[in-house]
């Protein structure tokens, strides 16, 4: 929504900007025109200069050749009238110009034309100097303002400019509002699209075509999501079904094998063989359980029982259970807890977190059948709780570490680490945590789980 408003504001600003730029542009054109007209009449010969050069010398008016030349570039003819309105000197006077003028004649041509000749007049020491230009060469117009209007001119100009600005603003607002509305609908649609909600926009108006495309995309997404969900459900249900079907026959294998293992009537070697069958069936059982859990975690079908728990207590419990079960008899398992970690709380599914940590320790034990030192450390780092399971055993090659770290799907690759680590990753990710794998020097590897903690207030 914010971006739509930004687009709108941007639109208004640019509209007003355009108006201002136009005004400035016009000003420049006007200026250019004025300069251009100056260039077209470069040797403007002022009537005053001419008047000065016209001198009375021994009862004869004379004028210099250069002045006359200059004069002819601009004017066509000239005459000097005395106080009675008679011509006392003239130059190239056309025949249709009268030789005598009354006061009213003078008043008339002074302002306008003399027989259609545009004329200028000047007060010469000996009379009235009149210079005439060619007919139709000059357009004369009287400009006359009252003093009060002239004094209000700056105010009027600034008022006009302001009015222009306001008009531009209002007009752009008016036209922009419609656009803004349709963009806003579009934006809401796109927003919903990104949040995976179904979108149905009105398909008319300015952006109707765009709306049609967005609606199409939405329909397509919904369809794809449905198909994806269906496939996921099918996969998960299939795995659940398979594991269910395996459980009953496996019960029989495990049950009878276990009975044979404990049957004192059988020779020892056969009891041992039955023991192997029993042990392997238990491994298959674990595998089924893991597969089921992994698929359920992958498709968000594992019910998540969130509660507040104390990670230190949880980890301590897991380590203790493993030591008590005597699974890793060649392994030393150490628990390291930072001071004051006991009160640390986080929200999560206790069973799943226990499983994640147990998987890591058991993984270390399994991959180091000859024994190794395992340490489980818990510490607080700002807003996260780090649980580090580390060993000095054979470790994983960097290649494998990368493989485990980057593996996205729960389907395991053909490596031997199986589902254990994948499940750990899924569980931690479901808790908004992260999992890091690191090689230890000189040997072994560390797995670092980071979980967000509950900040106490």
């Amino acid at each position: 929504m914010k971006s739509t408003l930004r687009i709108f504001i941007r639109y208004i600003v640019s509209a007003v900007g355009i108006v201002i730029i136009l005004l400035v542009l016009n000003l420049f054109v006007l200026l250019g025109w004025l300069i251009q007209s100056k260039v077209e009449n470069p040797v403007y010969y002022s009537i005053r200069d001419f008047s000065d050069s016209l001198a009375l010398d021994q009862g004869e008016f004379s004028i210099s050749e250069s002045s006359l030349q200059k004069f002819h570039k601009v004017y066509q003819w000239a005459m000097l009238l005395d106080e009675t309105g008679k011509i006392i000197w003239s130059e190239s006077l056309p025949p249709d110009v009268p030789h005598e003028y009354s006061l009213s004649d003078v008043a008339s041509f002074t302002r306008w034309y003399l027989n259609d000749y545009p004329v200028r007049v000047w007060q010469h020491p000996n009379g009235l100097l009149v210079l005439g230009s060619a007919k139709d060469s000059t357009w004369k117009h009287e400009i006359e303002f009252s003093e009060s209007i002239v004094s209000k001119m700056p105010a009027w100009i600034s008022f006009g400019l302001t009015l222009n600005g306001i008009a531009a603003l209002l007009l752009s607002l008016l036209f922009g509002l419609g656009l803004f509305r349709s963009i806003r609908t579009m934006a809401t649609g796109i927003e919903n699209l990104s949040e995976n909600k179904p979108v149905t926009l009105p398909e008319s108006g300015l952006l109707g075509e765009l709306a049609i495309k967005i609606n199409q995309t939405s329909r397509q997404l919904t369809k794809q999501e449905k198909a994806l969900k269906k496939r996921d459900n099918a996969r998960s249900a299939w795995i659940a079904g398979i594991s269910h079907d395996i459980r009953t026959p496996l019960s029989l294998v495990m049950g009878y094998a276990s009975q044979l293992e404990g049957d004192p009537n059988l020779p020892l070697s056969e009891q041992e063989q039955a023991g192997v069958i029993r042990l392997q069936s238990e491994k298959i059982k674990d595998l089924i359980n893991n597969l089921n859990l992994a698929s359920k975690l992958e498709y968000d079908m594992q019910p998540f029982e969130e509660k507040t728990l104390y990670p230190a207590e949880l980890v301590r419990g897991v380590v203790t259970d493993i030591i008590n079960s005597r699974i890793g008899e060649h392994h030393s398992i150490e628990f390291i807890a930072e001071d004051k970690i006991e009160k640390l709380k986080l929200v999560g599914d206790e069973d799943l977190l226990r499983r994640a940590i147990a998987n890591l320790v058991l993984n270390s034990i399994q991959h180091n059948a000859d024994g190794c030192d395992i340490s489980v450390e818990i510490k607080k780092e700002s807003a996260t709780c780090s649980i580090i399971v580390s060993d000095n055993g054979v470790g994983l090659t960097q290649e494998k570490l990368d493989g485990v770290a980057s593996q996205r799907d729960f389907i395991p690759d053909n490596q031997s680490h199986g589902l254990g680590l994948v499940i750990v990753k899924q569980i931690i990710q479901a808790h908004n945590g992260t999992v890091e794998f690191k090689a230890n020097s000189p040997s072994g590897c560390s797995v670092i789980l980071k979980l967000p903690i509950l900040l106490s207030r």
């Binding site: 659940a240 269910h244 459980r247 495990m254 276990s258 301590r316 203790t320 030591i323 628990f335």
Partner: protein, 239 residues
């Protein structure tokens, strides 16, 4: 009925081979009154006929599900029910819905697991006194005798009486003889609280306990500290 093995058991599972095996396992263990049923209809019939003391019930049956069947049984008798389930999903229903199942086992299971769970259920339902008596044996550590039923420790140099808290501590540790009990579990057992409130108190009580049971309290032989985790009692002369 003097013995849990005299209990009448009804085994309900739609897989005949599994019925046979469960029956076989329980027979070997000494249970004598065993009846098997393969579907709900049969199960209802047998249930009202024989009035079993305990039912072992598969969740998925051909003509219905175990949960519904159990509810029906519960209207007729209070006989405990042990569920057998082949799906993880059932676990959540069994735990979460408070169906009143006494226990459940997920397939596949080891015979030993079935026997122990069944024993526990039957003892709880029919021989609570036996259970109590069995839980309070007398323990011997070289020269020390711990009698939990009277809360007394006898040593060569005399008798010591356990305080209430020491008793609870010792009981919890002896229940898990040879195994580590985390400090958290001890605190929960004794005070019903989290460790961080009672860490020091726990240490004090352990010290007092050692003074009573150890020949040399500063070099404990029986009640050992497991660094970072908790405590454990070791000893092999149990009676």
């Amino acid at each position: 009925m003097n013995d849990i093995h005299e209990c009448r058991l009804l085994i309900i599972d739609d897989e005949p081979e599994l019925q046979k095996m469960v029956k076989n396992i329980l027979q070997n263990e000494g249970y004598q009154n065993l009846t098997t049923a393969g579907n709900c209809k049969q199960a209802r019939q047998f249930f009202s006929q024989m009035k079993p003391d305990c039912v072992i019930l598969d969740v998925m049956l051909a003509d219905g599900d175990g949960f519904t069947l159990m509810r029906e049984f519960r209207t007729m008798s209070a006989a405990p029910v042990l569920f057998l389930s082949a799906r993880d999903e059932d676990e959540n229903r069994l735990l979460g819905l408070g169906l009143g199942a006494d226990d459940y086992i997920t397939k596949p299971f080891l015979p030993r697991e079935l026997i122990l769970r069944l024993q526990a259920i039957l003892n709880r339902a029919y021989f609570p006194a036996v259970l109590k008596k069995a839980a309070q044996p007398v323990f011997h550590f070289t020269d020390t005798e711990i009698d939990l039923s009277s809360g007394v420790i006898r040593k060569r140099d005399g008798e010591y009486t356990l305080t209430a808290k020491e008793f609870l501590l010792l009981e919890k540790l002896l229940e898990n003889m040879g195994k580590i009990v985390t400090s958290d579990n001890l605190c929960h057992a004794v005070w019903g609280e989290n460790l961080f409130r009672y860490e020091n108190t726990l240490m004090v009580h352990i010290r007092h306990l050692r003074e009573k049971i150890e020949p040399d309290p500063s070099h404990p032989q029986f009640l050992l500290t497991v660094r970072g985790l908790g405590y454990k009692i070791i000893g092999d002369q149990t009676q």
